[in-house]
């Protein structure tokens, strides 16, 4: 076997909690690469992100500033880390930080860091609030959605969308409102956490299915694996899932990739109604937390993404195992206060 290529990759999303970030599963994919020998630099926002303390997966972690502090602060910190770590690639895993990383792409490149992210146009047009236009433009079935910024708009929206309806946060989280009176509570909760606007969306009754995919930016689908959530937590997160043989889902993914020339990882959140019709509920512009299922089913998406970022040719995956399952579990790590202290006080571990 040829020698592996040594690289250093920065990864965010180390919050492997009940609503997990994709960082740790991305790292597991990278560590299992046959092509790369990866040194992982964790980039964390909070001192209790579990990945910081997973020294078998994360070689070194640095604290980075919240996206709300702006891209200049983020760049300054990354440049500081880069002087020590010489990262080849960074994989950002949070929706909220993507805007800054996309804007910083040229600056990061100049200091030797490659990324493989959607363009700003691709990122903006798939926003939840833009989903109706997105559906029209790319001939995809989408539920009706209305963007709201204050409670006076609820009544009109309820008339149009009917109850129940889904109340969605700008970046994350969603609640089903069965009565109009519930909408305001969810609106306040979501706007306090993620800001405005809030999206009210028609509720489609059916089975939730998802596709994880990777586009090369030219319209080609490098990887795509469809999955059905088998166990969903009260936060709506998959705690178990299974890969599916579903041509309709794969064709929809390829059609979106071809038309949008999507660059990077993505997740399509879909609902299949009782008539078998697929509705696109949301596009997440990054690798989802269940990516390790795709790795286990034969498509190492994190490895392929790093190759694309480094300009290495990647042949599209043609196969994945159907009927592969993931079952998530929680695990208590025992950590000395010295480690916590070190990360809290120095921003490094």
């Amino acid at each position: 076997m040829a020698a592996k290529h040594n690289i250093t990759v920065g990864v965010t999303g180390l919050n492997n909690i009940d609503s997990p970030g994709p960082g740790i599963p991305v790292i597991r994919g990278l560590k299992e690469s046959d092509f790369f020998e990866v040194r992982v630099i964790g980039l964390a926002y909070e001192t209790l992100e579990p990945g910081i303390y997973m020294s078998d997966l994360v070689d070194k972690t640095y604290m980075i500033p919240y996206p709300s502090e702006g891209k200049e602060a983020l760049y300054a910190r990354i440049a500081q880390i880069q002087a020590i770590e010489h990262m080849d690639v960074i994989i950002p895993n949070f929706d909220a930080e993507l805007y800054s990383f996309i804007r910083l792409e040229p600056e990061l490149k100049r200091i030797g860091i490659s990324t493989f992210l959607p363009t700003l146009t691709q990122f903006e047009e798939r926003h939840k609030a833009n989903l109706p236009e997105y559906g029209k433009k790319y001939t995809v079935n989408v539920p009706k959605s209305i963007e709201v910024t204050n409670p006076s708009q609820f009544e009109k929206a309820v008339k149009e969308l009917k109850l129940p309806l889904v109340v969605k946060g700008k970046y994350y989280d969603a609640y089903i409102a069965h009565e109009e009176s519930q909408i305001e509570g969810y609106f306040n909760k979501l706007s306090a956490k993620w800001g405005l606007p809030i999206i009210l969306q028609q509720f489609i009754k059916g089975t939730e299915v998802n596709v994880i995919a990777l586009g090369d930016g030219t319209g080609q689908t490098i990887a795509a694996v469809p999955m059905r959530k088998q166990y969903i937590t009260d936060k709506g997160k998959a705690w178990g899932g299974i890969t599916l043989a579903d041509d309709a889902m794969l064709n929809l993914t390829k059609s979106i990739m071809t038309q949008t020339k999507w660059r990077g990882g993505m997740e399509l959140e879909l609902v299949r109604d009782a008539n078998g019709k697929l509705f696109l509920i949301e596009i997440n512009p990054r690798i989802p937390a269940w990516v390790y299922l795709a790795v286990g089913a034969g498509q190492n998406i994190p490895e392929a993404l790093v190759k694309l970022a480094l300009g290495i040719d990647v042949a599209p995956y043609q196969h994945y195992d159907v009927g592969k399952m993931f079952i998530r579990y929680s695990y208590d790590m025992i950590v000395g206060i010295d480690k916590f202290e070190q990360f809290t006080m120095t921003g490094e571990l």
Partner: protein
Amino acid sequence: MKIRSNIAVSESGFVFDPSTGESFTLNKTGQEIISLVKQGMDYEQILNSLLANYGGEKPLYERYLVEFFEELRNFNLLEE
């Protein structure tokens, strides 16, 4: 009447639909009926085969068999 071609039925009676990810379990009688369907038997032939093997009253078998096929249909496991 046929079981959909992509449906996997294991010897233990575990049924897996790869297009939906749903799985089901069959008891021994269910397994026997599925095996008769796979041999190409129609409803009448399956009914007669069960009667011949186990004896008993035909209406009772008919009731359960119709219910069983209805379930297979509801779960979208049949190709008719």
